[in-house]
């Protein structure tokens, strides 16, 4: 009997994913197309080598690792939903927390894919697997990152899937099983971003990264960008799936962002003061970012734009009237998504390499191939998230439930499922 129901669950899941309104097909087709373009460029990159990108010995990491860093932060930010939902039992957020966790899982998928496309030798991936390969734990922070990111991915799949499946069976989740996992996911979220920060932080060769303020800054900016994306995504979900997501939930998230953005700007200020006042040669990367260095200033307009976006968004989210008003809320969210991406992606990875350890300046700017591959990875993550949502939302909404609870006729039921 239980097997039959499991089989039904599985089958219905496939139906849910395979069927939808035209807009759903169009959306998936668009994502698949972007992925295909990315994949085409990726095969070229594999064929020619990483010379296909703009990266060189002077700036040996670029757009891929920038996106990786950003997305680890976005994933970690799910904790801003988990804490109010499970610890403080804040109702409006509790209803949607599983969606946030699945978003975190999708972000991790993207982060891991970004590392993969950056690898010169992805087919030697097995060298990282303990037992058949060698994982240089605990010496290499990259080894730590492999462990914590995969762990976080599984936590953020297991917790929501367990809750959703129980919800399908209309059973109370077993608290003894799930509560420890939820509690574990909180420090783990902080952990993934701390480890990612330490990955850079531990390199004495790169003064710009070798600053103790790095991990706190990473966390602060992550708690801005991740929730900002969630604010936008929740509204999209609300619009197309008629799921109930209370405005209070969005406003609460925006309020949390305001605190995080204050910290982020404060920490940036602390860093700027230290470098400019002490005025050692280690000022060079910051000078490169905000003023330009020895005639090189590719990132200067971007950095000022980022700062302007972050400050504007901070003000918008600080004032209750603009925070609790959907149009200004959305403006703020978009400003933060872009502002933090610039600051933490290209604005963080490139200056670690500029100037390089022997003082050379190579101005890195991603080329079209890197852009196409990056968009492909983002499209892949969005597709994963879309498919997650296609099943999770009907369960959250109470439409996709155990057969014995279904009261409506099968025809109507099917129609309803299709309309999601």
């Amino acid at each position: 009997m239980a097997d039959m129901e499991a089989w039904r669950f599985f089958k219905q899941t496939l139906v849910l994913v395979a069927k939808g309104r035209p807009i759903y097909y169009l959306w998936c087709a668009l994502l698949l197309f972007i992925m295909a373009v990315g994949l085409w460029f990726y095969t070229k990159q594999m064929e020619q080598g990483l010379i296909f990108t703009s990266m060189r010995n002077e700036v040996s990491w670029g757009l891929y690792i920038a996106n990786f860093t950003y997305l680890v932060g976005v994933a970690a930010a799910a904790v801003l939903l988990v804490i109010p939902a499970y610890i403080y039992h804040f109702g409006p957020i509790k209803e949607i927390v599983v969606l946030g966790e699945l978003f975190a899982a999708s972000s991790i998928v993207m982060a891991l894919l970004f590392v993969t496309v950056d690898l010169g030798r992805p087919e030697r991936f097995w060298h990282l697997i303990p037992g058949i390969g060698i994982l240089a734990f605990p010496n290499s922070l990259l080894a730590w990152d492999v462990i914590v990111l995969n762990g976080y991915f599984f936590l953020n799949v297991i917790v929501p899937v367990y809750i959703l499946v129980n919800s399908y069976y209309e059973k109370e989740p077993n608290a003894k099983f799930i509560v420890p996992l939820i509690l574990l996911s909180i420090p783990w979220a902080v952990g993934i971003h701390t480890v990612t920060a330490f990955l850079y932080n531990g390199l004495a060769a790169r003064p710009f990264w070798n600053a103790s303020i790095l991990a706190p800054r990473f966390l602060a900016s992550a708690f801005c960008s991740g929730p900002a994306i969630i604010i936008i995504i929740f509204q999209v979900i609300r619009k197309i799936s008629q799921i109930k997501i209370a405005n209070e939930a969005l406003f609460k998230i925006a309020e949390l962002i305001a605190y995080a953005m204050f910290l982020n700007l404060f920490l940036l200020g602390a860093e700027v003061f230290k470098e400019y006042y002490s005025n050692t040669i280690h000022l060079a990367p910051l000078e490169y970012l905000y003023q330009g260095l020895r005639g090189h200033h590719a990132l200067v307009p971007w950095m000022w734009l980022s700062l302007a976006f972050n400050v504007t968004a901070f003000v918008l989210f600080l004032i209750p009237r603009t925070r609790k008003n959907i149009p200004t809320l959305n403006v703020g969210a978009f400003l933060i998504i872009i502002g933090v991406w610039i600051e933490k992606g290209p604005g963080f990875v490139a200056p670690g390499f500029i100037p390089d350890p022997l003082g050379e300046i190579y101005e890195y700017f991603p080329n079209f191939a890197e852009l196409a591959i990056s968009l492909g990875v983002w499209a892949c993550g969005l597709l994963v998230f879309t498919l997650f949502m296609k099943v999770a939302i009907p369960i959250v909404r109470g439409d996709f439930i155990h057969s014995k609870h279904v009261k409506i006729g099968p025809r109507k039921k099917r129609a309803q499922l299709r309309d999601m």
Binding site: F10, T13, L14, V17, L39, Y42, T43, M46, E47, Q48, G49, L50, I51, M55, N57, S60, W61, V109, L113, V115, T116, D118, L119, G120, R121, P122, E123, R124, F125, H127, L128, G133, I134, L135, A136, N139, S140, L141, L142, A143, V146, V165, L203, A204, A205, R206, I281, A284, G352, F353, D356, P357, L358, G359, E360, C380, V384, L387, F388, V391
Partner: protein, 300 residues
């Protein structure tokens, strides 16, 4: 929920198949050798028999690829040796013959990209430690030029190498004689070591190395100057293939001014020990505690 990850898995599958076929096409026709190479163990974990087979396979591969018979050495470190380098800044004239001596010896890619293990930077007189003032690309009709000093930099073979510490798969390590080497068949191409090196001591093979066959040096060491692969990292090894046979590194021999010194730090009668004992030596970025075995000094 398993079905929801199909797309991701498919993507990875297609990607890896595409990758493998790309490697296959660009490489050699012999598929068995490719598979064996793909499954090959970390160098330090190979038995002597496995090393022999690997060398044989590699020599066949090079023969097919370059039409040349290579001799690949796996000679280990001699007990009681710790290699150290001395560089006399007062003698260097910035001619960069060491750079090209190194290229001739060590089989790096010649063009697209052109890779060098040695970099001779030019600094304005009166400045030495401030590397923000370096110039890397200069082409005067005559060297030395008035008003400038020259400082060659290459892998410093640190006793505390940060590059080794960060490698996630231990594809790079310090040999018993102090040489920092890379297993080009184990490197996954993440480039973390490049980010970690304070001396720009590592270069990446951004494309399949381009070497005209007539310029190949066929006397190679497995951990040193054998031809490399696309998308892996490599670096100066103090010419492991030479120094373990009692010869000088190629850069030492190429230098016309006697700027470059080399020897065994554990031998109290070696030239390098004499220099450390009798000259004022310093090492680059000593504040980073990397303990380089590359000593700069002023002989004049």
């Amino acid at each position: 929920m398993a079905d929801k990850r199909f797309t991701r898995r498919d993507f990875l599958k297609i990607a890896s198949v595409a990758t493998l076929s790309g490697v296959g096409l660009s490489g050699i026709s012999c598929k068995k050798a490719d598979l064996e190479e793909f499954l090959q163990k970390h160098y330090l974990e190979m038995t002597d028999e496995e090393k022999k087979q690997t060398i044989k396979r590699l020599e066949e591969k090079y023969l097919k690829k370059y039409g040349k018979k290579f001799t690949i050495s796996t000679q280990g470190a001699k007990p009681g040796t710790l290699w150290g380098y001395g560089l006399d800044l007062s003698r260097c004239i910035g001619c960069r013959r060491c750079v090209y001596g190194c290229v001739k010896e060590n089989n790096p890619s010649r063009y697209n990209p052109q890779l060098h293990w040695i970099r001779v930077v030019r600094l304005p007189e009166g400045s030495l430690i401030n590397l923000e003032k370096t110039e890397h690309y200069y082409n005067p009709p005559l060297v030395p030029e008035p008003g400038y000093v020259y400082m060659p930099v290459q892998c410093q073979h640190c006793e505390n190498p940060p590059c080794v510490k960060v490698c996630p798969v231990r594809a790079t390590w310090k040999e018993p004689d102090g040489l920092v080497v890379v297993d080009y068949n184990w490197c996954i191409g993440c480039r973390y070591c490049i980010a970690a090196c304070p001396y720009k001591g590592r270069v990446f093979n951004w494309a399949e190395p381009n070497i005209p066959p007539e310029e190949l040096n066929t006397a190679v060491h497995y951990l040193g100057n054998r031809p490399r692969y696309k998308n892996v990292v490599d670096k100066c090894t103090f010419c492991v293939q030479r120094v373990r046979q009692g010869r000088y590194p190629a850069c030492v021999e190429a230098c016309p001014t006697g700027t470059r010194k080399f020897g065994n730090l554990l031998d109290p009668n070696s030239e390098i020990r004499y220099l450390i004992d009798h000259k004022r030596v310093f090492r680059l970025k000593e504040d980073l505690n990397t303990e380089p075995k590359f000593y700069y000094f002023f002989g004049l």
